[in-house]
């Protein structure tokens, strides 16, 4: 893995990174200053942002459209809950078990990636998340069934940080989110990341160039599983309660929608998308009971008009600006989205 290559930087990258840097600094400073419920709210956004990131990595970069990552997220959360009920509340043990169980689920997705692609892969992940959703119902005693499961032992499980009091937990979550985002950005900017992107765009071409398509896909799936498990672990610590819906289709689809709205082809996109959509649905559900309607409308609008998400749009606008500065005529505007979800170069199955 060589150092990040800047030759293939998307348009508007420098300014984008500057803004992200500013946002990160602001995130460390502002919510604790504002106080009240804001740190808790932002940490929820960050947790679901990480979840969306794991979906975005596998669906955006890898073009393996996975609507089952809720299973990974939920399993990690349930692992924490079930262990805490068994009396185990050592924080690192819980973290390890969350990661291990999540990785096991990801291995399943990895197997699917080897055996199937495109719509069959999507359907396999769909069935998997449905199956996992039903498991608590089948094993009521251990998992709490429909009622969900609490995480016991209070703040011991979260290294003594209380999610509801003080800013410790918020900074903890924020640090993890920033580290994961930075690591993901570093990996994806490297040669391996470029290879992964190439495999996502056109597997046949990448295979012809000698890349081991299956190996890269499994690696990406496992990495995405680690991110999702971290998110699930953090969720369990913060909410102190896990329930069936985390495992199911609705949650998985939410992750995909967050990633899509923010822009699947980027690291910060899913985080933005998760924050934006969760904030929007929170605002709408307090004011009315029509949240399904609005989510549906937002989804339709995003899919029809900004399928590359917020970050994708940003890059498009910057690309046009750079082209204009370089002297291209108005009518020469080439399709700069040729390799994104909305573009013409969709030679792979999905």
């Amino acid at each position: 893995m060589r150092a990040p290559s800047r030759r293939n930087a998307p348009p508007g990258e420098t300014i984008g990174m500057a803004i992200v840097g500013l946002l990160m600094v602001a995130a460390f400073v502002v919510p604790p200053l504002v106080g009240g419920f804001l740190p808790h709210q932002i940490s929820t956004y960050l947790i679901f942002g990480l979840f969306a990131l794991s979906v975005g990595l596998i669906s955006g970069y890898g073009r393996l459209f996975n609507i089952g990552i809720g299973a990974t997220f939920g399993v990690a959360g349930y692992a924490v809950a079930m262990l805490s009920h068994a009396g185990i509340n050592e924080p690192f043990v819980l973290l390890a078990s969350a990661l291990i169980t999540g990785i096991v689920v990801s291995l399943l997705f990895g197997v699917y990636a080897i055996l199937a692609s495109g719509i069959e892969y999507l359907m396999l992940t769909f069935l998997t998340t449905l199956a996992f959703f039903n498991i608590p119902l089948a094993a009521q005693a251990a998992t709490g069934g429909e009622n969900g499961l609490q995480i016991k032992a209070g703040t011991v499980v979260s290294f003594g940080l209380d999610p509801l009091k003080g800013n410790g937990f918020y900074w903890f979550t924020l640090t993890i989110a920033v580290l994961v985002a930075a690591l993901s950005w570093f990996i994806l900017s490297s040669q391996a990341g470029q290879a992964m992107r190439a495999i996502g765009r056109n597997p046949a071409r990448a295979a012809a160039m000698g890349y081991n398509v299956s190996a890269y896909r499994i690696a990406l799936t496992l990495y995405s599983g680690v991110v999702a498990s971290l998110a699930g672990w953090l969720y369990a610590l913060q909410a102190a309660f896990v329930f069936q819906d985390l495992l199911g289709l609705a949650n998985s689809l939410n992750g995909l929608v967050y990633a899509l709205v923010g822009g699947v082809d980027s690291i910060v996109g899913p985080l933005i998308g998760a924050t934006a959509l969760r904030w929007l649905t929170e605002r709408l559900s307090t004011q009315s009971t029509q949240s399904n309607l609005y989510v549906g409308i937002v989804l339709l609008l995003v899919v029809l008009f900004i399928p590359d998400g917020i970050v994708g749009r940003w890059r498009q606008l910057w690309a046009r600006r750079e082209l204009a500065k370089a002297g291209a005529r108005e009518s020469d505007e080439p399709e700069v989205t040729s390799v994104t979800l909305a573009g013409a170069e969709n030679e792979s199955a999905l």
């Binding site: 055996l115 692609s117 989510v295 029809l304």
Partner: protein, 286 residues
């Protein structure tokens, strides 16, 4: 024995209406590579239309026809408008678009009809004696009509002009277009048939299950599983598997708790998909 017979017949009722919805889905997938997440909501709307017509005119047949027609035309046009701009793009976008439609329709139904379950009386209340049990005649009619429609569908696909064209487009869109098949018309027809089937299924099952806004949720899940298990795009396969599913769920629940039956079915379908994928020989799994 009584239980078994009862559940066997119940399975056929569930299975044949599931088959109608699922073959609509399979048709869309085969022709257009589209997964219509709103199919469950079309089912729900069909049921509501029947409820409206029954309330106004007490004419069941009229209600059923209206359900089918309104969904065929309305659903067909809606799908056309939503999916046409997305046809060249990543498939998951269409899936998410239909998901958006499904959410909107659910909420609209909640607003217009309220969240309570609308109960309808079946038009025929008699029972029929089959061996030791008495089974509602209406349910038997559902089985008959469902099977009849499916059979008609098979023959239509095989022999009717547009049926053959649908299969041609499903097999090779560009070649069909080159050979003179009016592809956009085939698209629209596929949309209309798929939605119409869901509407009719909804109308038929409404007196049996009553209707409420979120009924579409489990319908779409079961239908998708059936379509996947039958082989995406395989219309006949989807129908058979739907009936099989209905039977397994009904009969299986005699001895095994329903949740476990569900899980077993999921596991079976996953295994089926995995095995089927492995049989396709490819040096690199692309």
């Amino acid at each position: 024995m009584n239980q078994f017979l009862l559940q066997l017949l119940n399975g056929l009722v569930v299975g044949s209406s599931l088959a109608l919805v699922a073959s609509g889905l399979a048709l869309l997938f085969g022709v257009l590579d589209i997964i219509n997440f709103a199919q469950g909501e079309f089912f729900m709307l069909g049921a509501y239309i029947l409820w409206i017509i029954l309330g106004a005119t007490h004419n069941y047949v009229l209600g059923l026809i209206a359900a089918g027609l309104v969904l065929a035309i309305g659903g067909g046009l809606l799908l056309l408008v939503i999916t046409w701009p997305l046809l060249g793009k990543a498939q998951v976008l269409i899936l998410l678009a239909t998901l958006g439609v499904s959410l909107i329709l659910q909420q609209l139904a909640l607003n217009i009809f309220g969240g309570d379950a609308k109960i309808m009386e079946p038009p025929i209340a008699e029972g029929v004696d089959i061996g030791p049990i008495t089974y509602p005649l209406y349910d038997l009619i559902i089985i008959a009509v469902g099977m009849g429609l499916l059979l008609a569908g098979f023959f239509w696909l095989r022999y009717a002009k547009y049926g053959v064209w649908v299969r041609a487009v499903a097999q090779n869109r560009s070649m069909a277009a080159v050979l003179g098949v009016p592809v956009p018309r085939v698209y629209l027809l596929a949309f209309m048939i798929s939605s119409g089937l869901a509407g009719i299924a909804g109308g038929m099952l409404a007196p049996v299950t009553s209707v409420f806004p979120s009924i579409g949720g489990s319908i779409i899940l079961n239908s998708l599983i059936v379509v996947v298990a039958g082989g995406l795009g395989n219309f006949r396969g989807a129908a058979w598997i739907a009936i099989l599913f209905g039977e397994i769920q009904s009969v299986g629940s005699i001895w095994i708790p329903p949740v476990v039956v569900q899980l077993l079915l999921f596991g079976l379908v996953i295994l089926l998909l995995v095995l089927r994928s492995r049989r396709k020989t490819a040096l690199v799994r692309l």
